[in-house]
Symmetry: C2
Subunit: 256 residues, 2 copies
């Protein structure tokens, strides 16, 4: 294949141990890359699934220790959901966006609009516990990025990804809930226009597209692959970029 | 790097000519892969941006030949848009979903909910013409898939992709508007659950994630890359799979 052919590689990090509270995820990532002989390079993007970050940060809650409020009990009755689960969903929420047909769509305290405040029941303590998003996933991404820099000397971008449903289209896709080291949105000024007549500006949520690309590896295997490395994508470096930059303010959205 | 490491490759097809009405896109794709020495293999996914398919199918409309209806004139006044553009948007639409703040969100005749019925003004005839989606993008994908099979003997999946905005999150992402040869949605039954306690079923819109992954190559270059080949993703083959399978029926959606 010609060397001028543009190519991006999406590489799955196999062999990571089960993550528990207090684990240093960056350290485990770097160890795994060494075992697999994958070199971490400047400009790589490390995509980490939300659940292992939440576990490492102790964002795991036992349902049998949760006392639902009367409000949570009421909503749980309407939706036929576990009231303890609803209680945790409401604690994570800034507000309820839609409710009905067994679905509870909320806006999380970070600003993300998603089902159940992104509270996840599967695969944690046999379903008796749930995970929530990290308190500040952008900050979590920064910590992982900083640790990778310390351990390898390499400047990578880090994205924390989660699987979210969306309006109008069936099937969930992975999106970025935490970002560090890059601008999450690419601005193209009249880039597509070969005739330079209309200078259309397009904004593309590349952090979400990178998270979706990573899911293709994370999701297809029967093996657990919670971390993916993407090589060959030239992102715009930024110390300030955050996943919350992607959140559209309520007053600017036609669908709230 | 160990051979057991899962990897997906996203390869950009450079060197395609400008597409015009009547062009055989599959033929041009196969020629370009030969020039670049990229072998097309069974199981590859060929992602083609909507605009070149629309151009090949003659879905280009000159604005100066459009006579807007009084209804289009009225909406154009509200939104401060070109009434001729609004006329074409309405012709492509099954209905208006939201309107306001200069935005016109419609449901296309195929069922997709997006801005301006996916009518695109940039980069066509110096902005004096617009493209619309193909009449039946799933059928367009089938034709390209069939032609690639005829020319190379290889069984690939084909996705026609377009850049759509979405509620709640800033920045557009690429999604699938046409699919052939694969199931667009992957169903995971309790896959994530290592403890086999909760058998949660997850549906993931992999065709959308593949389209987003392809955009990372299509969008980052200053060169025009309207076709991308993805290698290493094991999709579920299907003769029946269609992008319209991803459309959530209005009555099942909390956001219409």
């Amino acid at each position: 294949m010609g060397s001028q052919v543009p190519e991006i590689r999406i590489i799955g990090l196999t062999g990571l141990p089960l993550i528990k509270k207090g684990d240093n995820i960056a350290e485990l990532i770097v160890e795994a890359t060494k075992k697999l002989n994958i070199g971490i390079e400047d400009g790589d993007i490390v995509i980490v699934c939300q659940k292992i970050v939440s576990k490492a940060e102790g964002r795991v809650f036992r349902l049998d220790e949760v006392k639902p409020s009367p409000f949570a009990e009421e909503i749980a009755k309407w939706l036929e959901k576990d009231p303890r689960l609803v209680e945790i969903i409401l604690r994570e929420a800034r507000g309820i966006v839609r409710m009905g047909d067994h679905h509870l769509i909320t806006q999380t305290k970070h600003g993300f609009v998603c089902a159940n405040s992104a509270v996840d029941r599967s695969n944690v303590n046999g379903g008796k516990s749930v995970t929530t998003l990290p308190v500040d996933p952008d900050e979590s991404a920064r910590r992982i990025r900083g640790e990778i820099k310390r351990l390898t000397g390499r400047d990578v971008a880090v994205i924390i990804s989660d699987t979210h449903g969306r309006p109008f289209r069936k099937g969930a896709i992975n999106v970025a809930v935490g970002v560090a080291g890059m601008k999450p949105i690419r601005r193209d000024v009249g880039k597509e226009d070969l005739f330079s007549y209309v200078l259309k500006t397009t904004y593309v949520a590349v952090a979400d597209e990178l998270a979706s690309a990573a899911e293709l590896i994370m999701g297809q295997s029967s093996e657990r692959i919670p971390v993916v490395i993407i090589k060959g994508y030239r992102f715009e470096p930024s110390e300030e970029g955050r996943a919350t930059d992607i959140v559209r303010p309520m007053e600017k959205d036609l669908f709230y």
